[in-house]
């Protein structure tokens, strides 16, 4: 099925152009940059001809991952947040990287409504939102070294 789809897609100029692409973004861990980051990733993703809904999914997931890096990774201190974004046919991969303090217990952090910072009025829904809006979310983290969140999404609208 996939192979057949791929062959059909090869005849489509637009899909062919977007077959493989990559971009990298680096910015200071300031909360002003949350909006900047999600808009940049969304405009990179727009070459896949996503629906408005799919674009909003990407924006929301990126916003959550970047907010996590700023609040939890760097805890308000200044550091660098990196985003690497790859397009592979109809799929986008977004990796958000910080070199902050890391997540000690990933399993717990992923639980809906769990937050390590209730005093900041955090809802504890960050990872749940990412998991809902993206197809796949992987977290790699090491104490005092940082966190890498890898998110994948396939664009259904791009398939036919």
């Amino acid at each position: 099925m996939r192979i057949k789809n791929k062959r059909l897609k090869d005849y489509k100029g637009v899909s062919k152009l977007a077959a493989k692409n990559f971009m990298k973004l680096e910015f200071l861990s300031k909360s002003q940059n949350e909006a900047f980051a999600r808009v940049v990733v969304a405009s990179f993703a727009s070459q896949l001809d996503p629906t408005i809904e799919e674009l909003a999914d990407i924006k929301t997931a990126v916003s959550e991952a970047v907010t996590n890096a700023i609040i939890h990774g760097y805890e308000g201190k200044l550091g660098t947040v990196k985003i690497e974004c790859s397009i592979n046919n109809d799929e986008i991969e977004i990796i958000v990287i910080d070199e902050g303090k890391g997540i000690e217990d990933i399993e717990t952090a992923r639980q809906p409504l769990y937050t390590s910072k209730p005093e900041l009025e955090r809802s504890g829904m960050g990872f749940t939102v990412m998991e809902t809006f993206m197809d796949r979310v992987d977290i790699q983290s090491r104490k005092d070294e940082g966190t890498k969140i890898r998110m994948m999404k396939r664009f259904v609208s791009n398939q036919d």
């Binding site: 909360s31 949350e34 909006a35 924006k59 907010t67 609040i71 009025e121 955090r122 809802s123 829904m125």
Partner: protein, 112 residues
């Protein structure tokens, strides 16, 4: 960018949020809303989301925080003009179990 505007009808504070609500803008508006509640002695709070173009989980924190504040004095919180996308995020967090959803502010004021 997020624009905040207030309106008071009897003891209801209507908070209009136009723009994008994320962690950055949440930090900016939290205290302003609380000050307005105190200033007007508001009983209930109604969030008007007609022109909210974006919200992530930071928005959930803002709404829960304000709900806690008004409910301490027996008030309630509500949202009006919520689009399907924001409703999805509200539902995900169970927020609609504590915050009421109405079509418009007239309906909210009548029923709160």
């Amino acid at each position: 960018m997020l624009r905040l505007s207030f309106e008071t009808i009897s003891q209801n504070l209507i908070v209009r949020l136009d723009g994008e609500l994320d962690h950055h803008t949440a930090e900016e508006i939290r205290n302003e809303i609380d000050k307005e509640i105190d200033k007007n002695n508001s009983k209930n709070i109604i969030f008007d989301l007609s022109n909210m173009n974006f919200m992530d989980s930071s928005g959930i924190g803002v709404v829960i925080g304000r709900y806690k504040k008004v409910s301490k004095l027996g008030g309630q919180a509500a949202v009006v003009h919520m689009n399907s996308r924001i409703e999805r995020i509200f539902k995900m967090s169970g927020l609609l179990n504590i915050v009421k959803k109405y079509e418009n502010k007239k309906q909210a004021i009548e029923r709160l």
